[in-house]
């Protein structure tokens, strides 16, 4: 089966998921230009798209339908990456939202921690990679730690801002209803801060992907980043590119999931009319 014949449905279905891409035509044109240019130049490092997609299918999707087409290579390298991503991102979300609410609600803590958080946020986490390697060794724990640390700050700061930014009228109205603390938390505070929390989580998922790959490029014995370096060493550039395509698809998938969740959970937020800014 030729790679080109398959590449098209894969590309289109991937795009159908990604809402960020404005025009299918532009992408199709780009792929055609890439194909033609790559064939003309004949570079080893930038193979034609058809070869890349061929490698993509062979590498990741060559297994039987019973295992959902996911190849042993997929299980060897993609699954560990996804597990690290999930653990790091999950830990960052739990910690970030929890701490963010705590310091958002408790003013003295907010005043105390705010400068610390802004400082922590401005340190590029990638610079901490060598330290993390020394601390954890070449373990998954190191990758998870780095992902969690990088994702923590945007979630934390957004949650904090979200809690602090809840409309005073909303808070006063809630007070007049004499809600229990628990109900106030679940029905007023959390939903009120949720647009900001989701904004933070959305920024962080991109950071998580980047940190996952980077930490695996330098220190891992399995994973997508590890796969990319090993293919580079083996001069298997179509395979290398196929991993990059897979990363791009993961990015699109995560964004689509967020778009979907926000569409459902934050429908009210997009619909609240801006004319509510009247003050007294």
């Amino acid at each position: 089966m030729s790679g080109q014949a398959l590449s098209r449905p894969i590309a289109t279905s991937a795009l159908a998921v990604g809402r960020g891409v404005r025009s299918l035509w532009l992408l199709a044109l780009l792929l055609v230009v890439w194909e033609v240019a790559a064939r003309m130049v004949g570079s080893l490092f930038v193979p034609p798209v058809s070869q890349i997609f061929g490698a993509f299918v062979d590498t990741w999707l060559s297994a039987s339908p019973s295992s959902l087409f996911l190849s042993s290579q997929f299980r060897a390298d993609v699954l560990p990456s996804l597990v690290r991503l999930g653990l790091g991102y999950g830990a960052a979300t739990v910690l970030g939202v929890g701490l963010g609410i705590l310091i958002g609600v408790w003013r003295p803590a907010g005043a105390f921690f705010n400068p610390l958080i802004r400082l922590g946020m401005s340190v590029p986490v990638t610079a901490l990679l060598p330290i993390a390697i020394v601390l954890f060794g070449i373990t998954s724990g190191m990758n998870v730690f780095l992902i969690a640390l990088g994702c923590l700050w945007p979630i934390l700061i957004n949650t904090y801002d979200g809690v602090r930014g809840i409309d005073r009228t909303v808070v006063t109205a809630a007070r007049s209803l004499r809600l229990t603390r628990r109900r106030y938390f679940l029905r007023v505070l959390l939903p009120g801060a949720s647009p900001a929390i989701f904004a933070g989580m959305r920024i962080s998922i991109g950071i998580a992907l980047v940190l996952m790959v980077i930490s695996e490029l330098y220190a891992a014995t399995a994973g997508l980043g590890f796969y990319i370096v090993s293919q580079q060493r083996l001069f298997q550039f179509p395979q290398l590119w196929s991993a990059i395509v897979l990363l791009a698809l993961l990015g699109i998938l995560f964004n689509a999931i967020f778009a979907l969740v926000e569409r459902v959970l934050l429908r009210w937020h997009r619909n609240v009319r801006p004319d509510s800014a009247e003050s007294h």
Binding site: T172, A173, L179, N271, H280
Partner: protein, 281 residues
Amino acid sequence: MNPVTTRPQQPGAALDTAVLDVQQLSKSYRSRKGDVPAVRSIEFAVHAGQFVSVVGPSGCGKTTLMMCIAGLLPISGGAVMFRGERMSGPRDGVAVVFQDYSRSLFPWLTVEKNVALPLRDRGLPRAEIRQRVQESLEMVGLAHAAGLHPWQLSGGMQQRVAIARGLAVRPEMLIMDEPFASVDAQTRASLEDLLLKVWAETGTTVLFVTHDIDEAVYLSDRVVVLSQGPSVVVADLPVTLDRPRDQIATKQTPLFGELREHVYSLVMASQRRTSLSGEPS
């Protein structure tokens, strides 16, 4: 005949039966330049089942006063007595409808859930909650909108939801802060009539804050007139217009005209006084 003296309401005589008794209430806001007084020394009482309006020029401290009475702002001096007990915070039996309806409803909850919210954690059975929500929404004519979100409704409808939420707790007193200030004239008239209907049906006491003199006179049993801020009570007038009232007929009566003129002149006089005494406006 002077309408002010037609039916003198002696506050002192009926003080013991007052639902709400505001005694020498003062409130200052803290600022960098020191304490800024917003209301100076407010004194009035509201009796069970009465509809009392508080009018005053814009910025005179009406919202401040209302928040203090509702226990939502700490007071600086005096006392707010509710059923003979000193108010020290929001309490059961008092419901508030805010000036800014679009922000006092929770946009992430449906109309139904907004109205049900104050009924939760009160030990009420689910069926009772559902029935009270239904009942309050029917009273404001919004039973059909139960499943919608506030942002799917017009301004007038949103304010009716806020009223329904206030009614759902079956309050002894409903405090409303310029609830109809930001809807158009027709909606406003129909909301006024709706409020009068609900008031007659439920028998709840209403404290209605507004800067609109016509509205105050049209709705109320009594109008409390505040001066320019920091405000004091400049007059406490009984309104002896017949009930049920009618937007056209009531407003055409000579008594209505006299009352509104009287209130108007009091508000204007208080404004002149403060500007003559050199206070910043």
